[in-house]
């Protein structure tokens, strides 16, 4: 358990598991920021810094995968994915190569570098790719365990990590499993499905709500694809209203993934999505952007109250 950015936990997990000779790590010249450098310092023979050349990097990773390696192709999500949709589709998703794409610096929580560095469409388009699974851990413990799970999982995966420090949510008794959500806190009336940094933000909102006597349920959805359909149905059915929370555009992300499940299962509930409202943000601190663009604990708390009115 540790308060730390998920990218830090990723770097640590790579080192923890690095003795496995199948693991190779690639980076696009930002390994100090993504923390893949930790692996590179310890296992230089299996670390390939490809420079600022994401297209080459992800295809090199695909080639390495065909020789039985487990490549972690790492970079800032904006460029790791934004630059390489075609390469990821053909050489990784369609070819079904065992490549783990690790995108750090996602969402508005990136902050001051501005919209060209704030990746808000990555969940949408990796979810849309056949063969691709999508995982976003919420804290240190979950990131460590998810990295290990991705080593064992055979197939293409997108691993979505964040820049800022997040609070510890899970202790070592937590067992991460690909495709499984987890009830973080049990309440009544309303359920929040949150992913990534929004789990922390939702917990803050819930503390505020508790002062007003409102106790809601929080579910962590760390596997965005395949989503834990059974848990979504169970939780939505047993609560009066549903809120989703993600640091991502409201198109194609967690909100849509949950909404699809509910529509398919014909479960009708008041439904609000806490997400970026199909717009580019601006510069500012992550906290300022969360406040201005509707992602902060204040907005979550208000959405809860509005839903229960």
């Amino acid at each position: 358990m540790k308060d730390a950015p998920t990218r830090d936990a990723y770097g640590q997990a790579l080192v923890d598991m690095g003795a496995d000779p199948r693991i190779v790590v690639l980076d696009a010249g930002v390994s100090d920021s993504t923390r893949s450098k930790k692996f590179g310092d310890k296992f230089p023979d299996r670390f390939f810094n490809m420079g600022i050349a994401e297209a080459d990097m992800v295809c090199t990773a695909a080639g390495l995968a065909t020789t039985g390696k487990i490549p972690f192709a790492t970079g800032f999500a904006c460029f790791l994915l934004g630059r390489t949709m075609d390469q990821v589709l053909v050489s990784i998703a369609y070819s079904n190569t065992n490549v783990k794409l690790v995108g750090t610096h996602t969402g508005l929580s990136v902050g001051e570098d501005g919209p060209s560095a704030q990746m808000i469409v990555d969940i949408a388009y990796t979810r849309a790719m056949p063969n691709m699974i999508v995982v976003q851990p919420a804290d240190w413990e979950e990131t460590i365990q998810a990295t290990k799970a991705l080593i064992d999982y055979e197939g293409p995966a997108y691993f979505r990590l964040g820049r800022p420090k997040v609070k510890a949510i899970f202790d070592s008794s937590y067992k991460f499993e690909i495709g499984k959500g987890r009830v973080v806190k049990k309440g009544s009336d309303l359920v929040i499905f949150a992913t990534g940094i929004m789990v922390q933000e939702s917990l803050t909102a819930m503390e505020m709500l508790e002062k007003d006597g409102i106790n809601v349920t929080l579910v962590n959805i760390s596997t965005l694809k395949p989503i834990d359909r059974d848990l979504v149905i169970e939780m939505a059915s047993s609560h009066k209203a549903v809120i989703t929370a993600e640091d991502h555009n409201h198109i194609g992300g967690l909100g849509d993934a949950v909404g699809e499940v509910l529509l398919d299962a014909q479960i009708s509930r008041p439904f609000k999505r806490i997400a970026v409202k199909d717009q580019f943000a601006e510069t500012g601190t992550g906290a300022e952007l969360f406040e201005k663009y509707g992602l902060s604990a204040n907005h979550i708390a208000k959405a809860v109250k509005d839903s229960l009115r």
Partner: protein, 278 residues
């Protein structure tokens, strides 16, 4: 590994094989009613030498042997010749070719290759990716301590893709001398001649500037092809073989024509072409 592929090649025999493979490629493109004859014919002699001249180390009964040499066709649209070669090499059967570009193809003989087909390493169809993938394989086999080589055929139009030059820089950085790129320099792309799209020249200088071991040959001269493919690896540089070729080589009315990039012949043209390919 298939030792029979390592016997001394007979140039005339290889030329005969290349001709047979051209006929087969055209036949399956004709049967499919679509495909890419021009780029299949320009690459035919190069692929014949690789697969049947004892260059490529492979065992078609064990296509995933980790110590095999790898072959990638980055210009994946030349699948007509690729599947014909794979059939002759025994990865698939000649009757499998009847399902080329057809729905429910049991061996997944799609318009562009995919690893569901035995002998194919990676999907193609989007140009510019194959050199990076091949380089990843070269890095992987080196990590495993194998002396495997990785060969990749690139189209000339494909060299317009910036990613090719990213990969060229990478292979130099990692001294990947087990990577051999072959440029099928047929001078013709889809809607125009390559030079008029964007001139690649001076092409040798470009690869030299990226610190590759550069060779230039006539890509239809079997003796020259074999000679360059038999060279020992450079001690540290990746190798590029710029093979001057002719799009549609072997059929007079197809040669050098953009029109024959991506169309199947009519019945009449097919008969005429087959007569020329004897």
């Amino acid at each position: 590994m298939n030792e029979t592929h390592l016997s001394t090649p007979d140039i005339q025999e290889l030329e005969k094989t290349a001709l047979e493979l051209r006929r087969l490629a055209l036949k399956i493109i004709f049967q499919a009613g679509s495909g890419h004859p021009g780029g299949s014919f320009s690459a035919a002699d190069l692929m014949t030498a690789l697969f049947f001249g004892g260059i490529l180390k492979y065992d078609s009964t064990n296509p995933k042997d980790p110590e095999r040499d790898r072959f990638l066709l980055s210009k994946g649209h030349a699948s007509g010749i690729y599947y014909s070669v794979l059939a002759r090499a025994g990865f698939i059967s000649e009757s499998d070719l009847d399902s080329y570009r057809k729905i429910n193809s049991p061996r997944f003989l799609s318009g562009h290759g995919h690893p569901k087909t035995p002998g194919i390493e990676i999907a193609s169809g989007s140009l510019g990716q194959g050199l990076s993938v091949a380089h990843g394989i070269a890095l992987g086999t080196k990590l495993d301590g194998f002396d495997s080589k990785t060969y990749v055929i690139l189209g000339d139009g494909e060299l317009h893709e910036g990613q090719i030059w990213e990969a060229a820089m990478s292979a130099d950085k990692f001294k990947s001398n087990n990577l051999i790129a072959i440029v099928d320099y047929n001078k013709v792309a889809q809607d125009n001649i390559t030079k008029d799209l964007k001139d690649l020249e001076p092409l040798e200088d470009k690869w030299n500037a990226f610190n590759w071991d550069v060779h230039r040959i006539d890509g239809h001269n079997m003796e020259a092809i074999m000679k360059v493919l038999q060279l020992p690896l450079h001690p540290e540089k990746p190798r590029v073989i710029i093979a001057d070729t002719i799009k549609g080589k072997g059929v007079s009315f197809m040669e050098g024509k953009t029109a024959w990039h991506g169309v199947a012949p009519s019945a009449e043209d097919y008969e005429k072409a087959i007569k020329e390919l004897q």
